[in-house]
């Protein structure tokens, strides 16, 4: 056992517990990790001799150089470790430089929670929703590609894997790597439900069981880190880019929320779905935050493109799968792993809470593929199309006070500014497709 966290559930730990485990595991370095507004992992590495001081929240960093964190002279930020997230990186064991990580919240120098901290944003969203959401947990299905590395170590989009959904080929290096990823995640205390080949050649999926929502957001960060590290050891590159190949399935993250006991669909579940459908156009900017995300959200490979729900349709935005573990679940199928999971969870939780508070009903479930709906049918069901671009998604986000409110002013403004700038860079870039299409004929 390499982690204090077991089977996805975290224990409340004291500083003494953490120090004891660090000593027992012969940890030499500890990464104090956090994410920026865009969900990009950051960390400050300290020698284990500084761990005690770090656990007291005495490690500071210059927030001024982190995207979207601070403005003006608010540069100094403090790292406040969440002791329950302490875990040893299994791949460093036996190396002589054993590393552990601990996920941190960000605080101001006077000890106040920093309003630009994504983890704090999710904590606040969960607190705000406590009147209608108690004990709700979330699970994940995380899709990613494993591509080969070039001779110089640079990632390619090549794969020797020709497998498809649920295929099994033990000689495939991707399959071996996927198993290694799942094993490593379990060793770090995550509760892996399953792992399997996905539709695309070289595409894989790891499923994580439902845990408390903050834990689940942490788990996506951990999964991204672990997959990249483990893949590299297999001379592969793990990418969570939503749509790396035009002609293959994109990679998404399906998020499951457990709601009520199994049985007849509970009214709170219906209202939760109503809230998700109501706010979907706005939360898309947060759950699908890159220009590339919108190349996945097209009418192919069962990607959701409409605000529809269903029991069985694989391309509905929200699906109600069969109950598991005696609990009803609702699955949000639009998000992708380029999202900041804390912000994504925050906007989804706020949407669900708004639906429950306001008794928003979602209409009847759709039967069949959403792709078959014509304009008249969509209008009659008040089904809207998800944004087709990051630009559209940002415009929808701007109009939705509930989703904006879940982010808070600081995060919303920083996120919006960063994403508008990203979209503008993309808009100005001349892409290979344009040269191919126009260079000869004009």
């Amino acid at each position: 056992m390499l982690s204090i966290q077991t089977n996805g559930e975290r224990k409340t730990l004291s500083k003494r517990d953490v120090l004891k485990v660090a000593k027992e595991r012969d940890v030499r370095y500890v990464r104090l990790s956090f994410v920026d507004i865009l969900g990009i992992g950051k960390n400050v590495t300290i020698p284990v001799s500084e761990l005690e001081s770090a656990l007291e929240g005495k490690v500071s960093f210059d927030g001024g150089s982190i995207d979207g964190f601070v403005r003006g002279e608010e540069a100094d930020m403090m790292l406040v470790p969440d002791l329950s997230t302490f875990a040893v990186y299994p791949w460093t064991l036996g190396s002589g430089n054993v590393e552990a990580r601990i996920i941190c919240d960000i605080a101001t120098p006077d000890g106040e929670a920093f309003e630009g901290c994504p983890r704090t944003t999710l904590r606040r969203a969960l607190e705000d929703a406590r009147d209608v959401l108690t004990g709700v947990r979330a699970g994940l299905e995380v899709e990613f590609y494993l591509f080969e590395l070039a001779a110089d170590g640079a990632p390619t989009v090549q794969t020797s894997d020709v497998g498809s959904y649920f295929d099994s080929d033990e000689s495939d290096s991707g399959e071996v790597a996927r198993l290694d990823i799942a094993t490593t995640l379990e060793a770090m205390g995550l509760s892996v439900a399953s792992a399997h080949h996905e539709h695309g050649a070289g595409q894989h999926e790891v499923d994580l069981n439902e845990t408390p929502i903050l834990t689940t957001a942490d788990a996506l960060i951990t999964t991204r880190i672990v997959a990249k590290h483990v893949a590299a050891r297999h001379h592969l590159h793990a990418t969570f880019m939503p749509k790396p190949l035009e002609t293959c399935a994109g990679s998404g993250v399906h998020i499951y929320f457990t709601t009520a006991p199994a049985g007849e669909l509970a009214e709170e579940t219906l209202f939760a779905i109503g809230g998700l459908l109501e706010h979907a156009p706005a939360f898309t900017a947060v759950c699908n935050p890159t220009v590339n995300s919108y190349k996945r959200l097209v009418a192919a490979w069962d990607a959701p493109i409409y605000t529809a729900w269903s029991y069985r349709s694989a391309n509905a935005l929200v699906r109600v799968p069969s109950p598991q573990g005696g609990l009803q679940r609702i699955e949000v199928r639009s998000a992708d792993a380029s999202c900041n999971p804390y912000l994504a969870m925050a906007v989804l939780v706020a949407s669900i809470a708004h639906g429950i508070r306001n008794h928003l009903l979602p209409g009847d479930p759709l039967i069949g593929s959403t792709y078959d709906l014509n304009d008249r049918e969509r209008d009659a069901r008040r089904i809207r199309m998800l944004p087709k671009s990051l630009r559209q998604a940002l415009a929808e986000l701007e109009k939705d006070a509930v989703v904006r409110g879940a982010l808070g002013d600081h995060v919303y403004q920083a996120f919006r500014d960063a994403k508008f700038a990203e979209y503008e860079r993309y808009r100005r870039a001349v892409h290979p497709w344009e040269r191919e299409a126009y260079l000869r004929i004009y």
Binding site: E267, L270, Y311, R312, H359, L361, P362, G363, D364, I367, G368, D372, D379, A380, R381, R382
Partner: protein, 405 residues
């Protein structure tokens, strides 16, 4: 049009009978004004005591002022209460008469001739004014009564024209939706001492559960319960009303309402046919009470064959329509996906619901039959394990077999 210059007694009686017929079928001032305009070949304007527009009829090519307020003020009434109106630049006859309810002035009725002399037909005008007075006095009890009388008329099938209904609603401050779904509700087993309070509680619980983003819910007291007329301009609104209505018994139980709640939900109907959804809601409530028991609200759509059985005498056309409606989702799916769901269902019933035999008849594996039965349940919305739903599906299949075209 009455072609006699002086209306004969018979013509006047015929005219009065027409007014009575309109009023008894729920026709309002607009319908009465239209009747008068047709009889006199004239334009007719009705305004209430506050000079608000109530109705306009028979204008044809005739121009009519939006109000006679200023014209009446400058005119001199004759001894019989008729005011001769002089329209600037016009020589055609025009007159106005005050609409009274007893001693109370309720408004003005103005007639604008297209050529005939109106004085000779004043009897018809007075009769129409009296009939309109009854309607306006019904409205004169304040905004609430004005609004109530509109819904009474709507459900009394008074409107043939959706525009007319919409205009009349607007004149009473009602934003009429294009479609409605009715929910009928009653509480059962109430103790006499607390019945009044409980009924009020039921109304509040229902309104809270049915609350809608699509407009105002109209509450009508019917028998010992209520009919809630919920706006449903789109299909999804009707679906949501139906779902919300079925949640009412649970909502009542949550607040310890302490009595059984039974109800029904009609199908969506366009505004001028709102009576249909109300009738269906009450019919569904009756069937829910008699057949299903417990505290529940049954949507008409879920009742299958029972409404037809309740009526005891469905026509062949109604039966055919029922069969087609029940099987339509399966047929549509079969056509689109080249499947055999209807055939599978028919065979499944023909072989006494024996999956193994059905599989042999269809030349498929029994797992395929199980899969198709799950699809049939999901697509048709009928539970094959429910005796009630089985009856509906079996009847639909039988009707379909008897009416192959």
């Amino acid at each position: 049009m009455i072609d006699d210059t002086l209306m004969s007694p018979d013509a006047l009686v015929e005219f009065a009978e027409g007014l009575a017929k309109i009023a008894s079928s729920g026709g309002g001032p607009k319908a009465l004004a239209t009747h008068l305009a047709a009889a006199l070949d004239a334009a007719v304007l009705v305004e209430d005591g506050d000079w608000r527009h109530v109705a306009l009829a028979g204008t044809g090519t005739r121009s009519v002022p939006p109000s006679i307020r200023d014209l009446v003020a400058s005119a001199r009434p004759s001894s019989d209460g008729v005011v001769h109106i002089e329209l600037p630049g016009e020589t055609l006859d025009a007159l106005a008469i005050r609409i009274r309810g007893g001693d109370s002035p309720l408004g003005w009725l103005s007639i604008f001739s297209n050529g005939e002399r109106l004085e000779a037909r004043i009897g018809a005008v007075r009769l129409a004014a009296a009939a309109i007075a009854v309607e306006l006095s019904r409205d004169a009890g304040g905004g609430k009564n004005r609004r109530r009388s509109f819904w009474d008329r709507l459900l009394g099938r008074a409107y043939d024209d959706p525009i007319e209904a919409k205009d009349d609603a607007a004149s009473r401050g009602i934003a009429l939706a294009s479609g409605y779904v009715a929910v009928a509700l009653e509480a059962e087993g109430l103790e006499e001492t607390s019945a009044a309070t409980k009924v009020g509680d039921l109304r509040r619980i229902a309104l809270e559960t049915l609350r809608s983003g699509s407009g105002e819910i109209v509450v009508l007291e019917r028998g010992g319960g209520f009919v809630f007329l919920c706006p449903a301009p789109l299909e999804v609104d009707a679906q949501n009303v139906r779902t919300a209505a079925t949640l009412i018994p649970r909502a009542a139980a949550k607040v310890h309402f302490g009595a059984k709640v039974v109800g029904g939900v009609g199908r969506a109907a366009v505004a001028i046919e709102a009576y249909k959804t109300v009738d269906e809601a009450r019919e569904s409530m009756f069937i829910a009470r008699r057949l299903f028991g417990g505290s529940r609200v049954m949507p008409y759509d879920d009742l299958g064959i029972y409404p037809l059985l309740l009526r005891g005498g469905a026509t062949a056309e109604e039966l055919r329509a029922f069969g087609q409606r029940v099987l339509a989702p399966l047929r549509k799916y079969d056509e689109k996906h080249q499947t055999e769901l209807v055939r599978t269902l028919r065979l499944y019933f023909d072989v006494g619901q024996n999956v193994k035999t059905a599989a042999a008849e269809l030349s498929v594996h029994r797992h395929t039959v199980f899969y198709r039965l799950r699809q049939i349940a999901e697509i048709s919305g009928h539970d094959l394990d429910s005796a009630h739903d089985q009856l509906t599906l079996r009847t639909a299949i039988a009707i379909d077999a008897l009416n192959p075209n």
